[in-house]
Amino acid sequence: MRKYLIIIWITMLSLGFAYAKQGQITCSGSTTVLPIAQAGAEAYMDSHPDYNISVRGGGSGVGIAALQNGTVQIANSSRPIKSKEISACKAKGINPTAYVVANDGIAIVVHQSNSVKELSVAQVRDIYTGKIKNWADLGGPSLPIVIVSRDVASGTFEVFNEKALGGAKVIASAQLLASNNAVISAVGSTPGAIGYAGLGYVNSEVKVLKIEGVRPSEATVKDGSYKLSRKLYMYTNGKASGAVANFIGWLQSDAGQKIVEDQGFISIN
C-alpha cells in the first residue's frame, strides 16, 4: 500500500512539475522596467493560470548577465544592450534580441516651492556640471542648488547623461542616489534640490519642469519633441518563442500597453 502511495505521489509531483513548466518564465533586470514587468506578469497570470512568471529586479546589467548565463529567459533593460555585452553573450552562444515594451520620459524635477518653471538642456547641463550654483541665476529664489543624480551605472543616468549632459561629467558634489524613488523623495523634501527620474515615478511631492519649453507627456515623448526620452526593453535569447513570445506579445498589445500606462509609462502603440 505504502509503495503505491509513494509511486502515486511521485507521479503527481512530476506531473505538477511538467504542468508548471509549460508557462514558466523568469525575468530579471532594470528596476525601471520592474513595475511594468511585475504588473504585466500579474495581469497575465490572472488570465492565463497555467503561466508562472517570476520577476526580479537587480539592474539592467544584472539582467543581461543572467540572460547570458541562461538563468532567465527575459532580461529587462532600461538601456540598449552594449556591444561588450553582446560579444559576451555571443561567446556563450546567446543571441540577445530586443523587444521594446514601453517608452519613458525622464522628468527633471524640483521642489514644489521652487518658482522656476522651465529650463533649457544647456541650463540643465550647466547645473549638473557645476557652472550654475544658485537658483537666482535661473530666475528663481536665492537658494543654493542641491544636485541630485542617480548612481552612474543606472540606465536612467546613462540616458540622462547622454541626452541632457552630452556626456559631460556630473560635478562630484552631486548626491548620487540609488533609485528613482530615492531621488523623488530627496527632491521632494529639499527646497533647493533638482533631480531627474523616470516619468512613472513622478508624484505630487515634486514639480516637473518643462525642458526647452516642452512638458514631458505621452504626446511629447511619442512625437520626440520632449528631448529626454528613451525606450525600455526586454531582451530574449534569439527570437522569442513559446511562452516567452506569448507574454511579450501580450505586453506589446493594447491590453499590455494599458498596464504600461497604468504604471505611469508611455505606450509604444
Partner: protein, 289 residues
C-alpha cells in the same frame, strides 16, 4: 557508542570545513574579479585619484580617494559618538548600576544591535535628516553629520557590550584592594578597573571600527552619496561600501567598472581583516596572561 562519536566528529568537521571553504571561496572570487583592474588602471591611480567617473564614455576614471575619505570620515564620526557613550554606559552598567538595573539595562542596550540596519537607515533618512537640515538651516540633511550619528548608534551596543564584559571580568580582588586602601569608587574605576580592562576596551573599539567601515545600508541611505572630500561635516559623502551597493547592479559584468567595484571590495576586505586581526591579537594576549 563509538560509531556515534565518530559520526559526530565527522559532522562537526564537515561543518567547520564548509565554512572555511566558503570564506576562502569568497576571498578568492573577489580578488580574482578585482585584481585584473590593475593590469589596465595603475594601482596608484586608483588609490590616490580623486575622480570617480567609472562609466564615462571617453575617459573613465577610477580614483577612490574621495570614497575612501568618505568611509574613514563617517567611521571616525561614528566612533566619536559611540566611544564616549558606549564606554559611559559600560562603566555605568558594570560598576555603578544596581544588580537589578543591570539585568534590565544590558539586554536593552544589546537590543540596539538587533535592529536591522535598513531600519536605522530609514529612520535616518525620514526623521533625522530633515530634522538636521532644519536645525542647522542646511541645503540637505543627508550628510556626514547625520550618517555619523546613525552609524554611531549602530556601533554603540558593540562597544558598550564588549567593554562591559571586559570590565566585569576584572578580578574582584583588585577592586576590593583598591577600596580597602582608601580609594574612592571613582578612583577605583578610573585608576584600577579601566586600566585592567583596557585590552578588552580597545578590542571593542576595533570591532566597532570594523562594523562601521563595513556598514552599507545606512550610509547608502543617509550619507547623500557625493563622491567628494567634504569641506564641512554638513556636506554629503560617499563611502566605499555604498558605492559598491549602488553601482554593482547595473554594471556590465566583466568590464572595468565591474572590476573596479571588486577592487574596492578587496580594499574593504583588507581593512576589516587588519582591524579584526588586531582586535583578535589584543584579546589573545589578554587571555594568555
Amino acid at each position: 557508542m563509538h560509531a556515534k562519536e565518530r559520526a559526530f566528529v565527522a559532522i562537526t568537521h564537515t561543518a567547520a570545513l564548509f565554512s572555511l571553504t566558503a570564506v576562502f571561496g569568497i576571498i578568492y572570487s573577489i580578488f580574482r574579479e578585482g585584481i585584473p583592474l590593475f593590469d589596465i588602471v595603475p594601482l596608484s591611480e586608483v588609490l590616490f585619484g580623486n575622480d570617480w567617473y567609472p562609466t564615462h564614455a571617453e575617459a573613465p576614471q577610477f580614483g577612490i580617494l574621495n570614497l575612501f575619505a568618505g568611509s574613514l570620515l563617517v567611521t571616525l564620526g561614528a566612533l566619536i559618538i559611540a566611544i564616549p557613550l558606549g564606554l559611559g554606559s559600560a562603566i555605568f552598567i558594570s560598576e555603578i548600576a544596581s544588580p537589578k538595573l543591570k539585568e534590565i539595562a544590558k539586554p536593552v542596550l544589546e537590543l540596539l544591535a538587533a535592529i536591522p540596519s535598513v531600519v536605522y537607515g530609514l529612520f535616518g533618512m525620514v526623521v533625522l535628516a530633515p530634522f538636521v537640515r532644519e536645525l542647522f538651516d542646511l541645503s540637505t540633511g543627508l550628510n556626514l553629520f547625520s550618517s555619523s550619528i546613525i552609524l554611531g548608534l549602530m556601533v554603540l551596543p558593540i562597544i558598550s557590550s564588549m567593554s562591559e564584559d571586559a570590565l566585569a571580568n576584572v578580578a574582584k580582588q583588585l577592586r576590593e584592594a583598591s577600596l580597602a586602601l582608601g580609594a574612592t569608587s571613582w578612583e577605583t574605576i578610573t585608576k584600577v578597573v579601566i586600566p585592567a580592562a583596557r585590552r578588552g576596551i580597545v578590542g571593542s573599539i576595533l570591532q566597532g571600527f570594523g562594523r562601521a567601515i563595513g556598514e552599507t545600508m545606512v550610509v547608502l541611505m543617509v550619507a547623500g552619496g557625493s563622491a567628494q572630500i567634504p569641506k564641512s561635516i554638513f556636506e554629503s559623502i560617499r563611502p566605499l561600501t555604498s558605492t559598491i551597493a549602488a553601482e554593482m547592479g547595473e554594471t556590465v559584468v566583466g568590464d572595468l567598472h565591474y572590476r573596479s567595484l571588486f577592487a574596492i571590495a578587496c580594499l574593504l576586505f583588507i581593512i576589516t581583516l587588519i582591524t579584526n586581526l588586531s582586535a583578535e591579537l589584543i584579546f589573545f594576549k589578554r587571555n594568555k596572561k
